[in-house]
């Protein structure tokens, strides 16, 4: 692994982490506001997080 | 990425595809279809049972409503009958009273009429008697007058004393 690769990987992890963190935080807010819809919110959250994660992994392997 | 391509094993890919497809087909035939069907049937059964219970409950309610209605009808009928009977009684009593009054009036009238006629008869009788007595007196007076004047007067006086118009 060369240094640009490592830096790139780090950037990807930061980006993906921020993205998933935002999704998780928003989902928490939503659940706090509407606890009865928590099931649906969790599903939507997982899907969104999975999509970001997929892009993140794809970028990680490219880096 | 290079590492991934290098790591890729065609044999494993082929085996995975073949085995997995076989697994899907086998499980579909021997497991998923029967399981899902059984579960579906069971769910439908439960749903039907619930529906039936609901229907029975509704029918029960209808029956109860019917009973209530019939009871109410009977009650109003009874009330009607009672009222009718009371009216009848009252009317009978009223009629009887009227009849009695009429009858009484008749009797009174008759009695009055009888009294009147009796009175008339009595008066007529008295008149007759008075006339007879008067005639008798007159006869005696005439007789005594014819014998003695004093006696005649005395006689008249006696006679008058005897006769008191009651």
């Amino acid at each position: 692994m060369t240094i640009p690769n490592i830096v790139g990987a780090g950037l990807i992890v930061i980006g993906a982490g921020l993205g998933i963190g935002k999704i998780g935080g928003s989902a928490m807010d939503a659940i706090a506001r509407q606890p009865e819809a928590s099931g649906k919110i969790q599903t939507a959250m997982l899907i969104a997080a999975a999509l970001i994660e997929g892009i993140g992994f794809a970028a990680l392997f490219a880096a | 990425m290079d590492k991934l391509i290098e790591q890729f094993s065609l044999g494993l890919f082929v085996w995975q595809t073949v085995l997995f497809l076989a697994l899907v087909l086998l499980l579909r035939k021997f497991a998923w279809k029967p399981i899902l069907e059984a579960v579906n049937n069971r769910e439908e059964g439960i749903k039907n049972a619930l529906d039936e219970a609901e229907n029975a409950r509704k029918e029960m309610q209808n029956l109860q409503a019917d009973n209530e209605r019939i009871l109410n009808e009977a009650r109003t009928e009874r009330d009607g009958m009672l009222k009718e009977a009371r009216e009848l009684k009252e009317s009978i009593i009223a009629e009887a009273k009227e009849e009695a009054t009429i009858q009484a009036n008749k009797v009174i009238e008759q009695a009055q009429a009888t009294i009147q006629s009796e009175k008339q008869a009595a008066i007529a009788d008295i008149k007759n008697q008075v006339a007879e007595i008067s005639v008798g007196i007159a006869e005696k007076v005439v007789k005594t007058e014819l014998s003695d004047k004093d006696k005649q007067i005395k006689l008249v006086e006696d006679m008058l004393k005897e006769v008191t118009i009651s």
């Binding site: 997929g54 892009i55 | 082929v14 085995l19 029967p34």
Partner: protein
């Protein structure tokens, strides 16, 4: 009763996790006597663990005479090299010797079979990659064995469960555990994403893929040292199946939305078409990478932390990394189920988009 069950489950999990850690850590402990540096040793061991292998070895150790001993069983090697060649992997002696079959020599090098000359020379290019010819390798490797075993297990488990339904509509035994999961896949994955009318066609695939990934991920956490889903070939096969099912069940609306997006101006349509087309390929690609990367990352981190135990070798560091490894194992149990769920969920989502009927256009 419930509490009892919970306690039982937790005890089982504990046993499971600690046993797996013990088994994984055993070889490293044995190898500390070796000549190599401990760190590189652990690194090599992890790399070896991540690869598929042509034999099934539970663990290996070195005798006092410096001879490698392996506990396990050889597996059949099936090669296509101008004709079918089948032989036992014991001929390779774990890569230490050449296998001679029908006058050809084969060498096992970094988990791959290469064709060599009688001396077993391997030629390298400038990136230190072997340039020898590779015969087509359809061997029954360790992973194939476990794919087969999981298939067998699933078949017996679910067909037995199905048979029980014939007499009694209420599940008994294992069915009590599995039925809610099956219903979950149906009611919370298939129906909301595909729709009530069309979900039935896809149920077999969704259920199979869910249980397959889940069970095989869980097996990866056992002391058997298998990890099938961190082979890109396996995840590619699974993702390709989702891709093909999506593509073949796509209706007119689906293709219309890809090539000629309704409701946007014409220049946008031209720009969108290649993007959408690329999207259909990126979707299964991300499925493949996600499953592969999650499981691989989990294994690497878990094994590295277990390896730390032997690097620290003191009374603070080792218990600390033991605790970390324990927590991580629990997390991996969650990840095993979560990845199966996400794979199934996204597959259902893609199928749903392929069969969706748009009434507004």
């Amino acid at each position: 009763m419930n509490r009892f069950k919970l306690v039982k489950t937790i005890t089982l999990l504990l046993l499971f996790v600690t046993a797996s850690m013990h088994a994984i850590s055993t070889p490293s402990k044995e190898e500390t006597h070796g000549k190599k540096d401990l760190k590189t040793e652990i690194k090599e061991y992890i790399n070896h663990h991540l690869l598929d292998s042509h034999d099934f070895s539970l663990y290996s150790y070195e005798t006092d005479e410096g001879e490698h001993k392996y506990i396990g069983a050889p597996l059949p090697v099936i090669l296509w090299d101008g004709g079918l060649k089948v032989f036992s992997s014991s001929k390779f002696h774990h890569g230490e010797t050449l296998a001679e079959v029908d006058g050809n020599y084969y060498k096992l090098y970094h988990g791959k079979i290469y064709k060599t000359d009688a001396a077993g020379t391997i030629n390298y290019d400038e990136d230190h990659h072997a340039t020898n010819a590779k015969p087509l390798d359809f061997s029954i490797t360790k992973n194939v064995v476990f794919i087969f075993l999981v298939g067998l297990l699933m078949f017996f488990m679910f067909s037995r469960m199905a048979k029980k339904y014939k007499n009694n509509p209420i599940p008994t035994g294992l069915g009590r555990l599995l039925e809610p999961i099956i219903l979950y896949v149906r009611d919370d994955i298939a129906i909301p994403n595909i729709g009530k009318k069309k979900y039935k066609k896809y149920m077999s695939y969704l259920l199979t893929i869910f249980f397959f990934i889940w069970i095989i991920n869980l097996l990866g956490l056992t002391p058997l040292g298998v990890n099938v889903t961190n082979n890109i070939a396996v995840t590619l096969a699974l993702a390709l199946m989702t891709y093909f099912i999506t593509t073949f069940s796509g209706n007119k609306d689906y293709w219309k939305h890809i090539f000629w997006m309704p409701g946007v101006p014409v220049p946008m349509k031209i720009i969108l078409a290649p993007i959408e087309l690329l999207g259909t390929i990126i979707k299964p690609f991300s499925l493949m990478i996600r499953l592969y990367a999650n499981i691989t990352a989990g294994h690497v981190v878990l094994m590295s932390i277990i390896g730390l135990m032997f690097i620290f070798k003191n009374w603070i560091g080792s218990p600390l990394s033991f605790g970390l490894a324990f927590a991580l194992s629990l997390l991996e149990l969650l990840v095993a189920a979560l990845q199966a769920y996400i794979f199934t969920m996204l597959s259902a989502l893609y199928f749903g988009s392929a069969v969706e009927e748009h009434e507004h256009h």
